[in-house]
Amino acid sequence: MVTNITNLGRSGVSDWLIQRVTAIVLALYTVFIVAYMLFHPELDYATWSALFQRTWMRIFTLLAFLSIAAHAWSGLWIISTDYIKHAYARLGVQTFIIVALFVFVVWGVQVLWGA
């Protein structure tokens, strides 16, 4: 057993599962946004704003934000453990990534509910 404390789920199988589930959420969100734009070729502010007034769209978007954060956490954690061999440099990078993701999520919530 290799012990790890800065990965997202504390266990390999949970990280693996989270990464796959969040990938599906992000794929669905991407398909939805692209399809929405294709079906609204002359998209204006009012339509776009109205879309994000809807509760289901806010939930879907927040879910996508959280998915990006979780997906990036587990993915960048893997990359940092592969390439950054110095322990404190690695911890520094991992901490920076996690804090940045937290900031982006809170910022995203503010944008989503602020409009």
Partner: protein, 236 residues
């Protein structure tokens, strides 16, 4: 044209400050020899050349090496399979420390093999004669037990290159699944608990380099997938 250009990786820590490539010309008389035959001819020319070999028929797994960029067993790899433009480049297995010439230090590879406890464990009292297995149960071991631990797969795996101390590697994981799949083994849960971390199994990104090079035609990626399924089933 029966003269083959052979370039061999040479390194002797006692006399060389750095590894270098030594070039040879070998007359094959037009025969499609095995790469190991070529090495033996080189050894006759230059007795300081060092490589491992034993059974010379793909059973012992001693002469795993990198031939024209691809890992394999020198004894069962015919020249016609690897030689391009009449040139053969021989290097040690990548990713492991070189001890001398084509001989690598396999300590990390064996350490990972030891970690997966490669022996049958059964908590039930032993029966009078033997633990019986049905033909169907025995069939589940096909494609797993044939591994000869030549390390061709693990040393072609970037995940093993980066983390040979933490990632078990394709060979070790194939063996781990060989015991999980065995009806006579009752330690599957303990085996899974030992490797349920982000490194041991999950550093496998499924690029299938292992499948590409296995001289026995085995599929470690499939075995790793099965281990993931068992981990999922146990943890959800």
């Amino acid at each position: 044209m029966s003269t083959l250009q052979v370039s061999v990786y040479r390194y002797n820590a006692e006399t060389d400050s750095a590894p270098y490539m030594q070039d040879f010309e070998i007359d094959t008389h037009g025969r499609d020899l095995m790469v190991l035959n070529i090495l033996q001819m080189l050894k006759a020319k230059d007795s300081t050349l060092v490589f491992r070999a034993s059974c010379r028929e793909g059973v012992c797994g001693s002469d795993g090496m990198n031939m024209n960029g691809k890992n394999g067993l020198a004894c069962v790899t015919p020249l016609s399979e690897v030689v391009k433009n009449n040139k053969l480049v021989l290097r040690p297995l990548p990713g492991l420390p070189v001890m001398r010439d084509l001989v690598v230090d396999m300590a990390l590879f064996y350490k990972q093999y030891e970690r997966i406890q490669p022996y049958l464990q059964n908590e039930n009292p032993a029966p009078a004669i033997e633990r019986l297995q049905s033909p169907e149960e025995r069939d589940k071991l096909d494609g797993l037990y044939e591994c000869i631990l030549c390390a061709c797969c693990s040393t072609s795996c970037p995940s093993f290159w980066w983390n040979p101390d933490k990632f078990v590697g394709p060979a070790g994981l194939l063996w781990a699944y060989r015991f999980m799949a065995d009806s006579r083994d009752t330690a599957t849960r303990d085996r899974l608990a030992e490797i349920d971390d982000p490194f041991s199994v999950f550093r496998c990104r499924g690029i299938m380099n292992c499948v590409n090079v296995c001289p026995k035609g085995l599929n470690p990626t499939r075995a790793i997938g099965k281990i993931r399924e068992l981990l999922m089933a146990n943890a959800t």
